[in-house]
Symmetry: D2
Subunit: 349 residues, 4 copies
């Protein structure tokens, strides 16, 4: 009973490095292939990659030679964090070649056939893949944008208990979300940039798909309005969102607190290896959550919520925080893969 | 025809230092007295103060001895930036002793008898002082909270042209707003703090007073809802606000842009010395305004507005930016004093 | 065979918090008493302390009531990170009352009777305590200043192999070294402060004591000149030192590299729980070590050395980096206590 | 008597932008041509350039079309801040075509025929150009590396009064020194990078040339040893250097202070427009100079020196600070051009 063999597309990037870090001791997956679209092809990973995380390149992948991101690769499934300008067509080719593609990239997220998955929130959307199940055929499963994961996770218990009528989220996002070299230091030192390309649009549309309803063969997006205003701030890791929400029924802030704190999902029930004990941690201090103090909660897989209060315009408000390259990217994809495995979607024909 | 002699209460603090910097070459005011509530009393200012602005203590005040903040002081009017725990009673004593008090501190802002003044926005509120006019009696005029100035300035042209039905502002505020030593570096390096004591409440109530209506002897606050969520970010100077606004009538974003760009007020008409040529600068680049690049626009007295767009939840949105210790504090108070002077409120009996 | 019961003096400070974090799962020590000199006395630790490290207060100490830092305390030994203005007399009282005091504070470091200990460098200096051994009497053992630990560790293999004739170290020190609230954010954002009170003097004198020679009952300092220039930079954790060294004999940079890489000591031989596998890690990349990437090496107990090269003025140069609150403070004291335990200095009469 | 017409090579870069900012109201020079090596050629400057300085593109150059950096250009002299990989050959072609080239780029700095000029330090080195004088022929004059300017300026009065026997400088350099995009924010947030490519070598060799002696047709470098260790720190503008110096004769720190404070040069005597009143400002506070507070001294053209003290290894030490893109780059070149003009080197045949 060996581990499932995993290929990483975009292995040299910041999310690719997180994949390798998080998979180093994973009980179910082992990395057997690395690919990247850049000049690193043909070199051993340790030479190809400028490792930007604390610590060193995991020993098991130091010598793996970086390949072009094209099938075939010596692996059973692929994790993708390719740049969005090439991810779409590459991932399609892998899926057509029979690979199961678990992607953090954006191009396929809104495809009708692709579940946009947060295992605690919409595991039922995996039914989109049921036609492929057991055929050995390839497919694509996507996790949301790094800010959307957190916003949708926080909304899930509110939608379930109270109904959501409208959401306005203002984000303060970390520099690691832009990759490497990413944000120039001259742009962000002693500064804020009130713009992240396409980010507001992604949050607005992805949130509705995740919280939408599965009909036969596609997901009908939720109908509530979503507004996002996005900012880059001088933080290494950890996206924060100031959220205002209009609920479908009256509720006391204490009820929202209870809904957040009690929230749990299928990953917790199935004890998936990357599932945090609690998906949402509630902080009651007046000045939390904070990126530096709370981003690593639950190994980076728990989001933290605080400052739950009434709001004069939309009814309620709170602040959410998540580790953008773990729960918001590599960890999200790995948890998706763990759910796929647990539910039998990774089995052969 | 000498200059008006000014005393500074709270002269050693960060706003006090800005007062001295901005008044160094002022054509109408000259600093003749300095007072502070701390251990600096009795020392020459240059020895009493740890100067935290670029450059050096203005020569004219280096030798002024710091006094206790109690009347009498050798001056005609006082500017106050005392800490809020003592400002209220001290300012009252100065007003009762016949001084005109132009304050940046918060305790009296909501008093019925105190105009909460932004000269471009609500100069008519000065009528609250008409009973004192010409009597030689003292009074208090306040400028708003550092974030409120910018939000109210941005709303003013919208309120005038379209009517405002609701406002939700999310702020990213600079560390200089907390004074010195203020925010601990361990709290803000690689971090965001989603809390500033009483800031959300101040923005919510002050905005309504400024945009309210004068009836006989008091101001009736505007009736629209205001929601504020406030964050401290790692920026030296320059508060940014992501604003969503519900207007009373339909409008195209281009109309909002035009309303912002065309906005002008009494300080511009009167050519007050500290009035910027344009109170609101519109930036059309997708990634502006930014604190480091735009805070000094108009000598720190212009606010900058950008990213004007439709919003799925409240109808419209934009981003505003202002220098928090100039237009948001010392410069605001000085502009208030200039208007008082121009309108005859500083004349003797 | 229970664990040794430990009291923490200065438990609410930044180093005190590190003590608790590092001792949470320690195999030999268990925290049974907490004391602090501030207003936190009398409160349960979780209420008394504003926890500034990622994660939460360890469960085992949440309910411990913070006491005054005076004997008696319910413990066998005390770790001290008291402020330097009170540490001296308090530690003396604990030692006289029979406690073994393992201190990170500075007042006693230069005392003749106090070993200034780095277990890999000068374990022989423990002989200063031999008169107390087995008597059950109290004593004080100190670890050096946070920058000195790293400089002395890096010099140790050079002194042993080549002899050291002079050292000039220029430090770039992290903000956590100043405690909390410590450095004001206005002082360090977009800035460097070329001054840390008494730091240069501490490095200059402590380095010579650590690398000095034990004669009978005291340590004769090493005779080489030490020069330190110290700067505070905008880094959360991790002190960096640019070191130039004049050796007593000619050496090739490759020989220095070999001396660093091969260095090991008694803690490694004894497999002390907090001893890193290698005290000094050599980084060969041209741009390492870096605080954010290398401070956590060896659990924060390894220092990293890089950029080893010839120097036109003093002969050789290199850059060293260490985690200032782990190897430079709390971890240093714990390693000292582990060595004391292993060598029988914590046994009763 | 019109102004001298200036072309800027590398006009879109960070130093190019500083040239335009500093020349906007210059009494002697007017910008008539812009050139850059990048994709901006053929566009009006306002469209070609992402302006990264506070404020806006100077009106006079908004419409100038960016050209290729090749002669002919419509101007009398050129300022160059081209990237070092192309500056060498381009500048040679301009000089051969008869242009006077005033360059901030590095390739020609060590050429025998090129004065490496700091007008206060070595104006006599201009004699290298005497053969060209009055011929209308082209030549190249270079200013030093951004850190070298400050180090050589600080050493000049010491060399004159006491003689210099050795210098060891450790720099903490601002991110603007690397241009735009330059340093990635992930590399410098909560971090220090102990490496700047070729910087240490430049400081070591350029300092000796500047302080060298002119013989007939070339400069013989000074013979004292120079050692540099360079670091990038998280500061926008302002390079700081911790300097240790061995003087040729005994001196009291107070004598060094006096030498710094009294230092003045030809630019001050000639009242050149960009010359600061005092080239070196002495700060006596224990914690100055600091980049954010002192970089703009003298309009960015004064360096600041503080912490003058004895040093146990080399005899004396101090800290120097300079604005790296003004005195360290664009301002240095402009001052060089002003001296050339004053001494008749810009006259035609």
């Amino acid at each position: 009973m060996g581990k499932i063999r995993v290929g990483i597309l975009g292995a040299t990037g910041t999310v690719g490095q997180r994949f390798l870090q998080l998979l180093e001791h994973h009980p179910q997956f082992t990395v057997t292939a690395l690919a990247a679209s850049d000049r690193s092809q043909g070199k051993p990973y340790a030479a190809a990659c400028v490792w930007r995380l604390p610590g060193a390149v995991p020993d098991a992948v130091r010598g793996l030679v970086v390949q072009a991101p094209e099938p075939p690769l010596d692996c059973d499934i692929v994790f993708s964090s390719l740049p969005s300008d090439i991810a779409g067509s590459v991932e399609t080719r892998f899926a057509r070649a029979g690979y199961r593609v678990v992607t953090n990239s954006s191009p396929h997220r809104m495809d009708d056939a692709v579940p946009l998955l947060i295992p605690e929130v919409n595991p039922g959307h995996l039914a989109l893949l049921d036609a492929c199940k057991g055929t050995g055929g390839g497919f694509i499963v996507a996790n949301p944008n790094c800010s959307t994961v957190m916003i949708a996770l926080a909304l899930a218990p509110l939608a379930a208990r109270f109904g959501v009528a409208a959401v306005a989220a203002t984000t303060l996002q970390a520099i690691s979300g832009a990759g490497y070299p990413g944000v120039a230091s001259l742009d962000i030192t002693d500064n804020v940039v009130p713009f992240i390309a396409e980010e507001e649009e992604k949050i607005e549309r992805e949130t509705r798909k995740i919280l939408g309803f599965l009909d036969a063969s596609r997901v009908t997006p939720a109908t509530f309005a979503v507004s996002a205003q996005c900012h880059r701030v001088n933080v290494v890791d950890g996206h924060l969102a100031a959220v205002r929400v209009k609920l479908a029924r009256a509720a006391d802030p204490a009820e929202l607190r209870e809904a957040f704190a009690a929230f749990t999902g299928l990953p917790q029930e199935l004890r998936l290896p990357s599932a945090p004990e609690r998906p949402i941690l509630v902080r009651d201090e007046p000045d939390r959550p904070q990126p530096r103090l709370d981003r690593d909660a639950g190994g980076g897989m728990s989001i933290s919520v605080g400052r739950i209060a009434r709001d004069g315009v939309l009814g309620h408000r709170f602040v959410a925080l998540s580790h953008n390259t773990i729960r918001g990217a590599a960890g999200a994809a790995i948890l998706n893969a763990e759910l796929l495995l647990a539910k039998g979607y990774l089995e052969g024909p």
